[in-house]
């Protein structure tokens, strides 16, 4: 009754009235403004820093360096190798060196100009392929961050069995998250002697832990609150402003505000990893894929961030949503002095989808098969073994998503020569990879007769608040008026993990469901479902602790064994097929995306409107990834030279929701946030090939690149 519908988002009313408070809208009396002095060198030793003129500048209160850090200067989600403030040397352009605190933003920004740093340039590693053997070490243990292999069957035998072999190299570039709200936050000391940070973030509990390490104080001394957040897409998972703010409050005991300009955001925020993908596919005459060999080389910049995750996830998903008996994937992630790359919607899999979907079309072409049929023939189904030999037992909807677009594919017809049609398929493991990644949720009955849901899950625009409330409503049979959501505060919630990896509906949803079942049993015993009001139950309960029920869910996974490559790294997978129609103007190389049919197996759509919203948004990002978005270091500074899709670039979209229910998910739900994006660029590239006969191997395939390819093809 409360799920599977088109319920309006619970935060929409406030948002259309312009009322939500984003971090930048918070002001604290007497707040200082903090800004960051950043490196202008890709790799250099710091010989001298002179802050005297800056300190003497009007309105400057303090300048902080790495020497002012009482605890650990290094942070990172997996490997703690990134300094908050550079120590002795800088390893990329934009690396923070100093924090300048002024009475006003103007004073602080002016003082930045007065800081003098003398650098001694070091050898720069700008290419991941040269990184491994470079004598310039970015970290003491070498420049290889991570190497993951996935091996299944016998690759040589697989290629021997093949009648055709297709081999190509694909590459992608840096992309910016370009969330509309830049990184921002406010901090202050509270009356209990703690430091409070309110920021734009995707994960409050992780940030609480990092700040406690930075300041060498217990976690209880730090409180992190999520302000209304203007988009994340992975870019607000790493510590952005939070550490700087906490350190500044620690030293000044005054409120501190920070907000990155757009230019600063482009310069300093993590990027999508550029990947170089060498891909070899073998197939029999009848279309069955016999072998896939993939080499992946990635550039994570000077710090790990989510580089290991991308290295691993890219490897695990390299074969695409197909059953391949013989697999050899070798994925390597290198440190360089390029921009720091991190988590961005899909963790390397959109890049891999570009490769495996291009390969599928090329194999089909050699075999004179229809690209649809070859996908259908090889698609994963119940009982299939993935590349890690995980047996897929439930909720394997890839074939159903193919069937949804099949009628449109079969009846496609080119009205003009310049038109083209392409398919893109994907699968995506929901949640973190082969590790425990639980969520907590807590319910309690309030004195005014409501059920309060306490969750640490961060609403970043994707709609998790609404989804979690709907799951609660459905389980308890309660109207929205009877529910209070208390969210995004480390004081009132236990860890729900990050809003990333398309995990909140499935995992936090599971935790809410777990708590709600316990609450339902309690309410039932107390006569609620026979008409006794909640308020009365509250009043009659002597032990108020009984009014509270905790929920927990941790998806059942096993890590992938580095030796055998076997494991079940994800408890469930989402599946999708996109079919895209494009038009390419041969005179200019301009590609217009006309129409997309997008079919997604989400397990169960808790909220159809939100699911569609995620898919439309993912398609927009996929259009950008395929055709226009490219962060060029030193060149891309803001939206005037980083192009992302506007309303004029959006195709018409038809969405098909497939609900192959996941037994471990709340009401069968999985996730859709990242799956929405993953197959889109791939389907555009295949459509470009169909329209022009030319295949792009490098993304973005922007107007100049496509024009060049068209000219080359003419000979």
């Amino acid at each position: 009754m409360y799920i599977g519908n088109e319920m309006n988002r619970i935060d929409a009313l406030d948002k259309v009235l312009g009322r939500p408070v984003y971090a930048e809208d918070l002001s604290a009396k007497g707040a200082l403004f903090g800004c960051i002095f950043r490196s202008t060198r890709p790799h250099a030793f710091i010989r001298r820093i002179d802050t005297r003129a800056a300190m003497a500048s009007p309105g400057i209160v303090k300048v902080l360096s790495c020497h002012d850090i009482p605890g650990e200067n290094l942070f990172g989600i997996i490997k703690k190798d990134q300094p908050y403030l550079a120590q002795d040397r800088v390893r990329c352009i934009g690396e923070p060196v100093l924090i300048v605190l002024g009475e006003t933003e103007e004073a602080a920004r002016k003082a930045l100009q007065l800081i003098e740093v003398e650098y001694e340039d070091a050898e720069v590693v700008s290419d991941p392929f040269l990184s491994e053997d470079s004598t310039a070490l970015i970290h003491d243990k070498g420049n290889l961050l991570s190497r993951r292999k996935v091996i299944k069957g016998d690759i040589e035998k697989g290629f021997k069995e093949a009648d055709v072999i297709v081999e190509h190299t694909y590459s992608t570039s840096w992309l910016d998250h370009a969330f509309m709200e830049t990184e921002s936050g406010v901090g202050y000391p509270d009356s209990k002697g703690r430091i409070v940070v309110i920021s734009s973030t995707q994960n409050i509990h992780y940030k609480q832990k990092e700040i406690s390490r930075l300041l060498a104080v217990p976690e209880e001394k730090i409180k992190v609150v999520q302000a209304t957040t203007g988009g994340g897409f992975g870019g607000k998972l790493d510590v952005t402003v939070e550490g700087f703010i906490a350190l500044s409050v620690h030293h000044t005991r005054r409120p501190v505000v920070m907000r990155f300009t757009r230019e600063e955001s482009f310069l300093s925020n993590t990027k999508r990893h550029p990947l170089y993908i060498e891909y070899k596919t073998g197939a029999r005459k009848d279309g069955i894929i016999t072998a896939v060999k993939v080499g992946i080389t990635g550039d994570t910049g000077p710090f790990a961030s989510y580089g290991e995750t991308v290295c691993l996830r890219a490897a695990l998903h390299a074969t695409g949503p197909y059953e391949v008996p013989n697999v050899h994937v070798d994925s390597r992630m290198f440190y360089t002095n390029n921009p720091v790359s991190g988590a961005m919607r899909g963790f390397g899999i959109p890049q891999l989808a570009f490769a495996h979907e291009s390969q599928m079309d090329e194999v089909a072409l050699m075999l004179k098969m229809d690209p649809f049929d070859i996908r259908m023939m090889n698609a994963l189904k119940k009982g299939s073994l993935t590349a890690t030999s995980q047996v897929l037992q439930n909720s394997v909807g890839i074939i159903e998503t193919l069937r949804k677009v099949e009628p449109y594919w079969r009846k496609r017809s080119k009205k003009e020569d310049r038109a083209g049609f392409g398919l893109g398929c994907m699968y995506y493991g929901i949640g973190n990879t082969g590790v425990s990644n639980p969520a907590n949720a807590c319910l309690n009955i309030t004195g005014d007769g409501k059920i309060a849901l306490h969750t640490g899950a961060c609403e970043i625009g994707q709609g998790s608040d609404t989804t979690l409330v709907q799951i609660l409503q459905e389980t308890l049979g309660l109207k929205i008026e009877d529910i209070v959501l208390v969210r995004g505060d480390t004081d009132t919630s236990k860890d729900a993990g990050s809003s990333s990896a398309s995990r909140q509906t499935y995992i936090s949803g599971g935790a809410v469901f777990d708590a709600a079942l316990k609450m339902r049993q309690y309410l039932d015993e107390k006569g609620f479902y026979k008409g006794r009001p909640i308020r009365e139950i509250y009043a009659s309960e002597a032990d108020k602790k009984l009014l509270e029920h905790n929920g927990f869910f941790d998806p059942p996974t096993t890590p992938v064994d580095p030796e055998t490559s076997k494991g079940s790294p994800y408890a469930t997978y989402a599946f999708a097929t996109h079919m895209t129609e494009v038009e390419v103007e041969p005179e200019t190389g301009c590609c217009t995306v006309k129409r997309v049919y997008a079919a997604h197996d989400v397990g169960r759509a808790i909220n159809l409107k939100n699911v569609r919203g995620q898919i439309y948004g993912g398609i927009a990002m996929g259009v950008g990834f395929a055709l226009m978005e490219e962060f060029v270091p030193g060149k891309s500074e803001s939206f005037d030279n980083y192009y992302m899709p506007t309303s004029m670039d959006m195709p018409d979209v038809e969405v098909f929701v497939v609900e192959d229910r996941e037994p471990t998910g709340p009401f069968g739900a999985k996730g859709v946030g990242e799956p929405a994006l993953i197959p889109q660029a791939a389907s555009i590239v295949n459509a470009i090939k169909d329209a022009t006969g030319v295949r792009p191997f490098e993304l973005p395939c922007h107007i100049e690149r496509l024009k060049m390819l068209l000219e080359k093809a003419k000979g």
Binding site: L17, G18, M180, E181, G461, K609, I615, S638, M650, V653
Partner: protein, 157 residues
């Protein structure tokens, strides 16, 4: 410093502004209108959109002193919780809101369009909001919302 007088959301206001002060900052700091957002500061993203004499303008590129004698509207003009404007209602119903950061500017560009064109085509709608970037929604539900509101709307000044 200069005194400027203008209509802000239908009310006459005046205040002292600095010569180089941007309308964006004057609205946020002097009038506490925080719905006007600074997404880029260079007139590319549209989150700072306001209506000046019912035409959309980037307030990050507009000097506060230039609105003297003019009519300025922000999203607060459209409606309140008790009486939503049809556009606001349609944005909620269509799912046109995700993170919400672009929403006020988007609504104002839409409002300005419907004032001039009561029955716009989809391509006219897309064009009207093409100066407002949104990273979350892919624009489709926003276009739907504007189309849905068009018939119901009295977007007269």
């Amino acid at each position: 410093m200069k005194i400027v007088s203008f209509a802000l959301n239908g009310k006459k206001v005046s205040c002292e502004v600095q010569d180089r002060e941007l309308l964006l900052h004057a609205l946020r700091e002097r009038f506490s209108i925080k719905s006007v957002k600074e997404g880029c500061g260079i007139g590319e993203c549209g989150t700072c959109t306001v209506l000046i004499d019912n035409e959309p303008h980037y307030s990050c590129l507009t000097l506060a002193s230039k609105v003297d004698g003019h009519d300025v509207k922000t999203v607060e003009y459209l409606g309140d919780a008790g009486l939503l404007h049809p556009l606001q209602k349609a944005f909620i119903e269509a799912g046109a809101v995700q993170c919400g950061y672009c929403t006020p500017g988007m609504l104002l560009s839409a409002y300005s369009l419907l004032m001039k064109n009561e029955n716009p085509s989809d391509s006219e709608i897309r064009e009207a909001i093409s100066g407002n970037l949104c990273r979350c929604t892919g624009y489709i539900q926003i276009v739907e919302a504007i189309r849905d509101a068009a018939g119901l709307c009295k977007c007269k000044p």
